[in-house]
């Protein structure tokens, strides 16, 4: 029998890890788009 408290800790850690991964992915895409936009402005 696993401790319900450990399960809750794992659940929260997993949720935060998933959200952090999504945010980092979105940030990479945003920086890429900003770079393309800035390069277009200076042409």
């Amino acid at each position: 029998m696993s401790d319900p408290r450990d399960e809750e800790i794992r659940r929260r850690q997993k949720a935060r890890a998933v959200i952090m991964a999504l945010l980092l992915g979105a940030f990479v895409i945003l920086v890429y788009a900003i770079t393309i936009a800035k390069m277009g402005m200076h042409r």
Partner: protein
């Protein structure tokens, strides 16, 4: 019993929903909207990606300020019914996590704004976050009934930031938009503080109804409505907006004034008799959305 729950919960890693709640998402919608309108009202078009990033930075900056506000005010929030369920006073989040989250988000939003838009917009964003946290939250809120009057400046920055992000400068129109929100804040918050007065009194916050009484607050609400309406209509006679905006702003301000006069005429001392105050509070939110929306519609139409 409550203490045991709080101690147990703070040992857990923070739930992402509690971190999100720290940013006061509902307040953020008005901040984002006024920032977006400031940007769309500017005469210079900004690249959509950079415009999106600038608005994102305004939202993140507002979220950072809200998180730092909750970090500092956790003790106060615990004393008020309206705020006792927030993540920190409820014991679902520890204060250090909230502090790190707020500082990190604030620094990130300012740097991203500087890199994506320009450093003037980034500087105004930084000033707005620091003003809200240091001037309003730390300095004024617990010391003076003028807390909302001066602290209201913090919430007035978004249209200036949006404009600065698009144009790289700050001219008369964004300053008038700043003045509009600055003068709108006292009637908006005082209407709320009239019907949650006991909450503020219990927490020892010197809001105007607690310090000066309900009727003095009602007079101040009516008085502030006049310069607020003038600031709302001013862009039209000054040639900064067209008649469509001018007429809509005048009509919306007139309705605001009528509701403020109904508040002035009310003599109720219990929240159950404060229907005019509740109506004014609800309308004040709609008013700001509508006036800023009218400015953008006017700009697009012309």
């Amino acid at each position: 019993m409550t203490t045991v729950t709080a101690t147990t919960d703070t040992a857990l890693p923070a739930d992402w929903r509690d971190l999100l709640a720290l940013t006061k998402p509902r307040v953020m919608t008005l901040v984002v909207f006024t920032g977006l309108c400031g940007m769309l009202a500017a005469p210079t078009a900004i690249h959509p990606v950079l415009g999106f990033t600038a608005i994102l930075c305004i939202a993140l900056g507002a979220g950072a300020a809200a998180a730092l506000n909750m970090w500092y005010e956790a003790d106060l929030d615990a004393l008020m019914k309206r705020t006792a369920g927030r993540p920190l006073p409820a014991g679902r989040l520890d204060r250090q996590t909230a502090l790190h989250f707020g500082v990190g988000l604030g620094v990130f939003s300012v740097l991203l704004m500087g890199l994506a838009a320009n450093w003037l917009a980034a500087a105004v964003l930084a000033v707005s976050i620091l003003f809200y946290v240091l001037v309003y939250t730390v300095w004024l809120k617990r010391r003076t009934p003028q807390n909302i009057v001066i602290g209201g400046a913090a919430g007035a920055f978004p249209p200036v930031i949006g404009w600065a992000a698009a144009t790289g400068d700050v001219t008369l129109l964004p300053i008038l938009l700043f003045a509009l929100i600055f003068l709108w804040t006292p009637p908006h918050f005082w209407a709320l503080s009239l019907f949650v007065r006991s909450d503020y009194a219990a927490a020892g916050v010197p809001m105007l109804p607690v310090v000066a009484g309900a009727n003095a607050t009602r007079r101040q609400i009516a008085l502030y409505t006049l310069p607020m309406a003038a600031a709302a209509v001013a862009p039209w006679p000054l040639g900064l907006a067209g008649p469509l905006y001018g007429i809509l702003a005048a009509a919306l301000s007139l309705a605001f004034l009528v509701l403020a006069l109904r508040v002035l005429a009310n003599r109720a001392s219990e929240p159950s008799g404060m229907k005019p105050e509740k109506q004014l509070f609800a309308y004040s939110i709609l008013y700001l959305f509508a006036v800023f929306g009218a400015l953008v519609v006017d700009r697009v139409a012309s």
